[in-house]
């Protein structure tokens, strides 16, 4: 006899301990696309994309222009719904629920899956009203104090508070490009999303502003699931944990960023990363 059977207590037998229910492991999939096809009219622009994006990680989508990475990003919050003739097949599952299911409320989905665009798009309103916009339309605040508190917290999260706290009620359009982009991030964060989609958020910014955005992404990943589209290889290497390489509407390769950039499995990925095309 190898061992005396020490019966393991069955989970039900254990008296409930004062421990919080185990949180989902930090690296669990937050949002998963499976067999995703995307069509603009008759033209298929995404083909059988299967990709997991995990909690508290930054997933970078790279690939040449027109490869479908932005389109893919926009399928994650159903932003493509507004494009006439757009059609999706396959599934995108967020926390166990298919976001393309009939019962899903797109408005609520977009609140949970925030988005930052390539070109900063502040509304022609004051800095304060820009950040407060999502809170107001989603009726997320109970009082003026609550609203002000959340606006401040969002601006702090986006590392913009100190620069704008004395001019919250001046036009957002007077901010610099980098500040405008951080304002758009603050605006997205204000509605407490779980996922943050970023479509080339730094492509129109100078190197210093870019660096600030990258630092911000690094800080934000402890609280959000982040998916970022970028044309900048170095940026993908710096900010992301996982990289997915798209080419002609297909997902060629995905894996840990360190591996993709040092030892890609596919020749195509290597050629792209080393700048042989694209």
């Amino acid at each position: 006899m190898l061992q005396t059977a020490v019966p393991l207590p069955s989970p039900a037998a254990v008296p409930s301990l004062p421990v919080a229910p185990a949180p989902a492991p930090d690296t669990a999939a937050k949002i998963t696309a499976s067999g995703l096809d995307f069509y603009y009219g008759p033209r298929r622009v995404l083909e059988q994309i299967t990709l997991q994006m995990r909690r508290n990680e930054v997933t970078a989508l790279i690939g040449p222009s027109g490869c479908g990475k932005s389109t893919f990003l926009r399928t994650l919050n159903r932003m493509n719904d507004i494009v006439p003739g757009a059609r999706v097949e396959g599934s995108v599952v967020l926390d166990g629920r298919d976001i393309y299911a009939a019962a899903v409320d797109v408005v609520d989905l977009r609140r949970r899956v925030g988005m930052v665009f390539q070109k900063s798009n502040p509304f022609p309103k004051s800095i304060f009203d820009n950040v407060a916009y999502g809170l107001r339309i989603n009726r997320m605040t109970r009082s003026r104090e609550d609203l002000e508190g959340r606006v401040e917290a969002s601006l702090r999260s986006a590392a913009l508070w100190d620069e704008v706290k004395d001019r919250l009620h001046t036009s957002a359009l007077a901010l610099s490009g980098g500040q405008q982009q951080r304002l758009c991030i603050a605006r997205a964060l204000a509605v407490e999303p779980e996922v943050l989609l970023m479509d080339e958020p730094a492509s129109a910014l100078d190197p210093i502003a870019t660096q600030r955005i990258e630092e911000l992404i690094y800080q934000l990943k402890s609280r959000y699931t982040i998916v970022i589209v970028t044309h900048n290889m170095q940026q993908a290497a710096r900010v992301s944990d996982v990289t997915a390489f798209f080419w002609l509407g297909r997902l060629v390769e995905t894996g840990l960023t360190t591996k993709i950039f040092t030892a890609p499995a596919q020749k195509l990925t290597e050629d792209y990363i080393t700048g042989r095309f694209g």
């Binding site: 925030g114 665009f117 798009n121 359009l173």
Partner: protein
């Protein structure tokens, strides 16, 4: 030597074109200058404080003013804008935001057609629907006629200005969980507002100067009234009546009326520019 022009020849051609363009501008400006010159020089002589405060005098007596017509013009254009501005702006929103559907392009075509309908025809139409059934000319009918003229102007201006608002602005609002209507009314429309205000004021200026649609709707009235259900005098119709009359003193008053009208239109345009700057200033200071 075919097709060859010496450098000197090319320079001459170039100067000739510049000269032609300049000449065209001058020809275009001449009527405007003359109109303004006559209206101002003749009008100023006839214009006095009485013109704004007194009623028209009976035929044969000199003096008096057009207080009733000034109030009438303001009332009729005010009535017209009251229903044309909301309907025009909402139609513009519909055309720009829901375009692509067959109905939207139909609406656009209808607006363009309505825009081209001669104003006298609009007057006859409103006469048919708002005067005949009640057997009564009225300020309300006049306002209706002017409003019908304003709607397509405002609708098309609104549509064009909304289409100029970058799509990224719309997407930004949608991405935050706004519904389409919410995005339009809280972000897109405010972004286009300076231009829309200008468009509305210019439409106002244009219809304030209309005579034909008022002839069988508001008709005319030599007495002071603010009743919506009574015929009402307006500056344009008064100027028309006075100008074709055989009396010297009425001609004088017609010039004064014309001057007041031109001033109102000019004031509207200035107001539009000022409002536009002010709103743009709010957005980008």
């Amino acid at each position: 030597m075919t097709g060859m022009i010496s450098t000197g020849g090319r320079k001459v051609m170039s100067s000739l074109f510049v000269a032609l363009c300049t000449l065209s501008v001058l020809i275009a400006l001449v009527p405007l200058a003359f109109v303004l010159f006559f209206v101002i020089s003749e009008g100023v002589q006839a214009l006095n404080f009485d013109f704004f405060t007194k009623m028209p005098k009976p035929v044969g007596e000199t003096g008096g003013g057009m207080a009733n017509a000034i109030v009438g013009t303001l009332m009729v254009t005010g009535l017209g804008s009251m229903f044309a501005i909301p309907i025009g702006i909402m139609s513009g929103v519909y055309m720009s935001e829901y375009a692509g559907t067959r109905f939207a392009s139909l609406v656009r075509f209808a607006a363009d057609t309505l825009n081209g309908v001669p104003s006298i025809v609009i007057g006859v139409f409103v006469y048919g629907i708002a005067v005949l059934p009640f057997k009564q000319f009225s300020a309300l009918a006049g306002g209706l006629a002017l409003g019908v003229m304003m709607i397509p102007i405002i609708a098309r201006t609104t549509e064009e200005l909304l289409l100029l608002v970058p799509g990224t602005m719309r997407e930004g609002a949608l991405a935050l969980g706004a519904t389409h209507a919410r995005a339009v009314f809280s972000v897109v429309l405010p972004a286009a507002l300076p231009g829309i205000v200008t468009g509305v004021v210019l439409a106002l200026a244009r219809i304030a100067g209309e005579t034909a649609p008022l002839l069988f709707t508001a008709f005319s009235n030599r007495y002071f009234t603010t009743s919506l259900r009574q015929p009402i005098g307006t500056l344009t119709v008064m100027v028309f009546t006075y100008a074709i009359s055989p009396y010297k003193d009425w001609h004088r008053q017609a010039w004064a009326g014309a001057l007041v009208l031109v001033s109102i239109v000019l004031l509207c345009s200035l107001l539009a520019r000022f409002a536009t700057r002010k709103i743009e200033g709010l957005h980008s200071n």
